[in-house]
Amino acid sequence: MRVELANVGKRFGRVEALRGVTFELPAGSRTALIGPNGSGKSTLVRALLGMLRTGGEVRFDGAPAGDDRRELARRIAYVPQIAPRLAAPVRDVVRAVAGLRGVAWHTIAAVAADLGVDLDQLAARPFRALSGGQRQKVLAALALASSAELLLLDEPTASMDPRSRSAFFARVEALPSSVTILLCSHRLDEIRRLVDRVVVLTEGQVAWQGAAGAYLDDHAEAIVEVDAAGEPAAVWLREQGFVQGATGWWSRALPVAQRARLLGEITHRLDGTLRDVIARDVERLQPPGGGTAS
């Protein structure tokens, strides 16, 4: 499904939540929508879901959304960041959505099982009694099983454990290439694995949009932590810009592109004194030079 937003605006009283938002999601594209809290990401997703009246124009496959959104809703699936605490049993919630979307229980159960949730076992439990992670997995399973043409994912793995997140990634990657995805996320691993484009919202406006690789080059940073013994190792690590923490570990932040080279040097230079080394990616909120490119 192709989605076009043209000059979309939304005001809540004095607060202008969206201002002239214009971008396009080509059919089959996978886009991350990122920005700080209050930047308008959720408002934009809700506008796409038809829950907010907005200014400007939103078109789906070239046609305006219109007032009756039922047919459109069938083609869109949504995973909220925080799952509601419904009192109905899991069975009723799943059957309700399955019935509305014409999806079989066993199809949803298979996806849920993949994500680490046994729907049959949880069927009689109130949806609200599930843990946050279980609720999110059930909702993710409902969305992934729905054969929707547009997936709106709002921090979909925020409450999931690592194994389930990995399974979720695999499921999303296995979706047909025609499925358009809009992902609200701050997680670099999600951006790296799931999307090819990034749209940055700041104060309700599109501050930057472009290829995911370019965004990651600007924002992804690696933290390398080293546990090594002896003064020669300490001298070398200090020369390389490492700082020693209270636990005795040395750490340094550097662009992701330089990580592999540094790790190679560490294993070579600290041979015999190296006890452990850890590298992890984090998001640098402010890119070098401040602000965002456009």
Binding site: L52, R53, A77, A83, A96
Partner: protein, 279 residues
């Protein structure tokens, strides 16, 4: 999926909410306790506005319900839509192929049923238990009249509660407004209005009109319409109307006006729900 099927889906999910919050049980207990009290205390050899025995007990109970039912209805529905909006359940459900009308109708039906069914069960049950225990004859005519009037009043305030929950986003403000509406409903019957008339020198026509706009007052007059009109029991508005439109007119006014008011509030809420931002 048809609108009827959408309504059924929404109703099933909302019924779980109602059962979890135990409104059905709560309403039944309230009705039963009140009824038991009036049956036990009321079955003595005395008369109230021409009623004796079981009729008197039912009359007293119905009158108590007139003040209680609006409170039950408003507290059960005054925060339905805004709570669903805040906790994300509205967003989740309407992200699926459910029309806004389907959601609103489904929720309304469940809430109305949850409030009316306990009444429909409790009233005849009380009459039958009272009749069996005390050997009294059940005044079926008055019982049906009481059920009809109470149901109309309940539906009216259920719709008003839904109207509040749709139009007032803030839950605390919605709660405050429901309490104010209830207080206005039970306070501004014509005895209260006469006080206002004397205090502020309001014209009698204005007092009559205000009294008739109050669905609680209309329901009260409809219940009393089975008795001989007396100024001391009917109040000035009721006494005037009873002598002009007769007992039947009073009865149908007491059913028709609350239903019309409720229908207006419900249609208004539905329109607002379909047009406004949902989150």
């Amino acid at each position: 999926m048809t609108l009827r099927a959408q309504i059924a889906v929404v109703a099933r999910l909302d019924l779980a909410e109602v059962l979890r919050s135990r409104w059905l049980v709560f309403c039944l207990i309230v009705h039963a306790v009140l009824a038991a009290m009036f049956v036990l205390v009321g079955l003595r050899e005395s008369g109230v506005v021409g009623f004796t025995g079981m009729g008197r007990a039912l009359m007293s109970w119905s009158h108590a319900l007139l003040f209680l039912l609006p409170l039950l209805a408003l507290s059960a529905t005054g925060q339905v839509v805004n709570t669903a909006r805040d906790d994300g359940s509205l967003e989740l459900l309407l992200a699926n192929p459910v029309s806004r009308a389907g959601y609103f109708v489904g929720t309304s039906l469940v809430r109305m049923a949850a409030l009316v069914l306990p009444l429909l069960v409790a009233m005849p049950a009380v009459a039958l238990v009272g009749a069996g225990a005390f050997g009294q004859e059940v005044p079926w005519g008055f019982l049906l009249r009481g059920v009809a009037v109470s149901t109309a009043l309940l539906l009216c305030f259920t719709a008003i509660g839904l109207w509040v929950s749709t139009l007032v986003r803030n839950q605390a403000k919605a709660l405050m407004l429901t309490i104010l509406l209830w207080a206005a409903g039970v306070a501004l019957i014509d005895f209260g209005l006469i006080g206002l008339m004397l205090q502020w020198e309001l014209p009698p026509q204005a007092v009559f009109a205000l009294a008739l706009l109050n669905p609680v007052q209309c329901a009260r007059l409809a219940l009393l319409s089975a008795a001989q009109p007396e100024l001391s029991t009917f109040g000035p508005v009721g006494f005037y109307l009873a002598n002009h439109i007769g007992p039947d007119g009073l009865f149908w006014l007491g059913i028709g006006w609350p239903l019309l008011l409720g229908l207006t509030a419900w249609v208004w809420s539905l329109g607002a729900f379909r047009r406004r931002d949902l989150v």
